[in-house]
């Protein structure tokens, strides 16, 4: 069985002062009224597994007010789960300081490179705000693609970050040339650097879009209907000819003070029956496409690593009809591990719940029938 989480402890995380939750393989349902901490708990699982939050760019928000640090501790079961095959993974975070990551009490460089070594858990998350991947700007779609590839390959993550820095440098140089502050002697150097890093980003994306688009197509078939769905990649400059395109754009770029071609200007097209979902999709189609993108990400990770990522889906049931809810519930139940939040347990069949773990949340306190004794297990 793929790595999964057996237990999680949250200290000073969002509205949790100190709480422990046990998780099972298969489906885990977090249930509670609004504003009790369901989303916060899912966020914490992701934070514990990856060392960062997918929900906000202001990371300090996760620290429980008025505490000064937040901490998560989790137990990961590797392989077939004899207790000896467990890892204790902890993330300590105080705003403004370097995060402390430890695996079995030994400091770790980063959890994603740790997971890349085959010993951690990967996650695929869904938060309602993710609708912007389909509906929003090209940058939202690039972030989806880059995020997925980065968790799989630290070298890709590095290329993306360095590419962004090189483009910033080039942009500043363009402005300095325009304003007469630089002779532009180093423009060739920065162009070469930008193309070198940009090519690595483009190659990574180009290799991914084909298979990812196929997975997206199958997910849409299951979720939406028989109309053919897929992905396209829209280049500002194609791979061959990238260097020439950048050189050609120089004068215009100097005038504007920004770099007009390269992977930071590209878009990922999401298509349904040949129609662009971003521009023409109905609200309903866009919602299902967002889900399908997450399912595709799961398949992609499975295909690339041979391991099933842990699925963390927030409030996904409320927008769906009965047939789709049933499909999703089975989908989650059959995954290695899924943690799903809901305000309403009736979205799930009685029989399915009997095979799942139900976690009740109220005001930052966790209780679940199987471990209501309050015993600490982490």
């Amino acid at each position: 069985m793929s790595p999964h989480i057996r237990a999680l402890r949250l200290v000073n995380f969002r509205n949790y002062a100190d709480a422990t939750v046990l998780l099972s393989p298969g489906l885990n349902v977090i249930v509670g009224d609004n504003a009790q901490g369901k989303t916060n708990l899912l966020e914490a699982v992701s934070f514990a597994a990856t060392g960062s939050t997918p929900r906000t760019s202001t990371e300090s928000e996760v620290v429980r007010w008025p505490a000064e640090f937040a901490r998560t501790e989790m137990r990961v079961v590797l392989g077939d789960g004899a207790r000896g095959d467990e890892r204790a993974v902890a993330v300590g975070y105080a705003p403004g300081q370097r995060k402390r990551l430890t695996v079995d009490d030994v400091p770790a460089e980063s959890l994603s490179s740790y997971a890349a070594g085959g010993a951690g858990v990967r996650t695929v998350t869904f938060f309602p705000d993710d609708l912007r991947i389909v509906k929003g700007a090209p940058s939202d779609r690039r972030e989806y693609l880059d995020g997925l590839l980065s968790t799989l390959r630290p070298s890709y993550a590095r290329a993306v970050a360095e590419y962004a820095r090189a483009v910033q440098q080039r942009n500043q140089l363009l402005r300095r040339i325009r304003d007469g502050l630089s002779s532009g002697k180093t423009l060739q150097t920065w162009d070469t650097k930008v193309v070198d890093l940009g090519t690595r980003v483009l190659q990574g994306r180009a290799a991914a879009v084909g298979p990812l688009g196929d997975f997206f197509g199958s997910a849409m078939r299951a979720l939406y209907g028989s109309e053919k769905a897929g992905m396209g990649y829209s280049y500002s400059a194609p791979l061959e000819g990238y260097c020439e395109a950048l050189t050609e754009a120089r004068d215009a770029d100097v005038e504007r003070g920004t770099t007009s071609v390269g992977p930071h200007r590209d878009d990922l097209e999401l298509l349904l029956g040949g129609m662009d979902l971003t521009t023409y999709g109905s609200q309903g189609q866009q919602r299902l496409a967002t889900l399908a993108l997450k399912f595709a990400a799961r398949e992609y990770v499975r295909d690339a690593t041979g391991e099933d990522p842990v699925l963390l889906f927030d409030d996904v049931m409320s927008e769906l009809d009965g047939r789709r809810r049933e499909y999703l519930a089975e989908y989650f139940q059959e995954s290695t591990q899924a943690v799903i939040s809901t305000t309403n347990l009736e979205y799930f069949e009685e029989e399915l719940l009997s095979r799942s773990r139900v976690i009740r949340i109220s005001g930052g306190e966790i209780s679940s029938p199987a471990d209501s004794s309050g015993k600490r297990d982490v």
């Binding site: 360095e162 090189a166 910033q168 440098q169 300095r176 630089s182 180093t186 150097t189 070469t192 650097k193």
Partner: protein, 199 residues
Amino acid sequence: MATYARPVERLITELSRLPSIGPKSAQRIAFHVVRGRPEEAYGLAEALKEVKDRIRPCKRCFNLTEEEECEICRDSRRDAAVICAVEDPYDIGSIERTGEYRGLYHVLGGSLSPLDGIEPEDLRIAELVERVKGEGTEEIVVATNPNTTGEATAMYIAQEVQELGVRVTVLASGLPVGGDLEYADEVTLGRAFAGRRQL
């Protein structure tokens, strides 16, 4: 908002100007000095003054020295056909500790960074080119930091000396990428040196 006597405040202010010393550390160091023996404080003050009075850049390689030329440049046992270009004088110490390198150095004084307004003229690149012409240099090892600006600097240097028939190499990876040479441990840096490649 002066909380302490003026001289103490002044010391705290001066200390907190130093790199990686925040206001809290500055305060702790200041009170350490205030409480400590006078000789210790005078010793520190003298060391600071001496450094400013006596130390200057080597006129050949811009390493720090008390003389016209630094000890490395004056050492006839070193291989004058190889120049290792570094960003800062303290990088020389890191490389010397590996024991792998017997050539000379050239301190560039930073790396190319439009974001910081640093152009080739702000670095000692022209001086390096002059040295190559005058000293019959056969190889330049560019040991700038393994980050975007360091790598761009290496590429620019390679381009500048292209016509001079000098071999330009950079350190092999193995260095923590995005990091500073300063923090690399000796073994890693030594291995990177052994595996330097042509640019």
